[in-house]
Symmetry: C2
Subunit: 136 residues, 2 copies
């Protein structure tokens, strides 16, 4: 994602300091931050950045496929900078921590034709739940 800014410029984005800072925050550790966490980290570099702009920018990055949204529960959505490498999530039922995981096999294949009810499948999201070593 280091060339994210290039790709955005290539797509005609006006490169503002706000967008740059949000992109840099996501470019750091591959964790799964909430919008407010992104805002807090962005504000550390650019104090006046508004929540609305963080939401706008995250939404744009999602549409562009650079970032994906993860909604594991009824809490705040988390933003996943790992947008280009398909993967699934392992969520701790205790502390809520999230790990990226790569299950084997074709997940779509698990749903037999007669269970598809005429739908055109496009994606599968799998959430594995359990207790992490610390919470066990």
């Amino acid at each position: 994602m280091s060339d994210l800014l290039e790709r955005l410029r290539g797509r005609g984005w006006r490169m503002t300091s706000q967008r740059r800072v949000v992109a840099e925050v996501l470019d750091g550790d591959h964790v799964h931050l909430t919008a407010d966490e992104v805002h807090a980290r962005a504000a550390a570099r650019l104090p006046e950045i508004s929540r609305a702009t963080v939401y706008n920018t995250l939404g744009e990055l999602v549409v562009l496929g650079e970032v994906s949204e993860v909604a594991t529960d009824g809490r705040a959505k988390r933003y996943d900078p790992n947008g280009h490498t398909p993967h699934q999530h392992l969520v701790c039922s205790g502390c809520g921590s999230i790990r990226d995981v790569r299950p084997t096999g074709n997940l779509l294949a698990g749903l037999p034709q007669e269970e598809r009810f005429g739908f055109t499948l496009s994606a599968v999201e799998v959430t594995y739940r359990g207790l992490c070593p610390d919470c066990a």
Copy 2:
């Protein structure tokens, strides 16, 4: 779920008209209603029932395992009366409709040991996304 009321009585539930009505609403079609939809249907039979009571009762039913919560997006949670038969969901990206589906195979088996990071797995949720025949 027709004997739900029996099971609840057996668990020491005080049987109020409110709880009875909420259970009856869920006992109808096996659809996936939001809490407010449950409230609307319950209020058709018992006009004074409050939203708080609907939320309380749904929460209790979830804890008892009679009903499960489904959070497919950032919108309102949906309540699934199909609590005793494990199944997954097929969600239309167009209209948001939800169907119960039963994938084949052991879903937990898809996550190899070295991808479990010491977690003790307890459940897997799979959401298949695509377009329903109407939206395609």
